[in-house]
Symmetry: C2
Subunit: 132 residues, 2 copies
């Protein structure tokens, strides 16, 4: 499989597990490395496997209606990342997902999502919520 | 130099350029690849070098008082990422910076920052702003 397509398939699996509240599938998408990390919107960074998986168990207990939109994958050797939007009801988040090739499969090693505007602000006029 | 330390040094250089409003130093920190990407807080993802650098020129025209706190670096071969907090006045952002080893130096290929709480929320009780 083309690496870009394989990375996007892992990303799709992540959002399938997310929307379905399927904690087993979510765990399977992630690397087994101890130092996986995650920044949920508004949260402090979570910096190890137990903290990340505890967060997913809490979140997936009431899974949101989430949909990944416009994913773009970037591959550099055995590491890749995806930039995408997440549709949540009427809101939109922007997300970064980092993946690593491990044991014959792409696995998630980091996720960050944060609020964004549905329309792109003028770059020359940063929106008020754009703190930098 | 230890790879972790070299990655953290690139990350420091990024925040030095950011706080100083030094667009030349900021451009030097970034990869020259066309497909660098960036998600500023509240913004849509920027998906190529011209858009990313135009955003930095706009932001660095009035550089914020920004300080990187508690950076943690993770290296996988020729790709690395840093998870850190950004102090901006009384506010705190959480950030992901992805770097790639290019032409003998670590260079930034992606940056995302988003709002966070100064205190870590209980994982079992996601804060209201934690949309997932």
């Amino acid at each position: 499989m083309d690496p870009i397509e394989a990375v996007l398939e892992c990303n799709r699996e992540f959002y399938r597990a997310f929307a379905a509240g399927d904690i087993e599938a979510m765990e399977a998408v992630w690397s087994r490395a101890e130092d996986v990390t995650c920044i949920h919107p508004g949260w402090q960074a979570l910096l190890d496997w137990p903290a990340v998986m505890e967060s997913w168990r809490a979140i997936l207990a009431a899974p949101p209606s989430i949909r990944c939109v416009a994913p773009r994958a970037f591959v550099s050797g055995s590491t890749a990342y995806v930039v995408c939007r997440e549709r949540l009801g009427n809101g939109t988040l922007a997300a970064t997902n980092i993946l690593r090739w491990e044991d014959g499969a792409w696995r998630m090693i980091h996720h960050q999502a944060g609020p964004t505007h549905s329309a792109a602000p003028e770059v020359s006029k940063p929106a008020e919520t754009a703190l930098h």
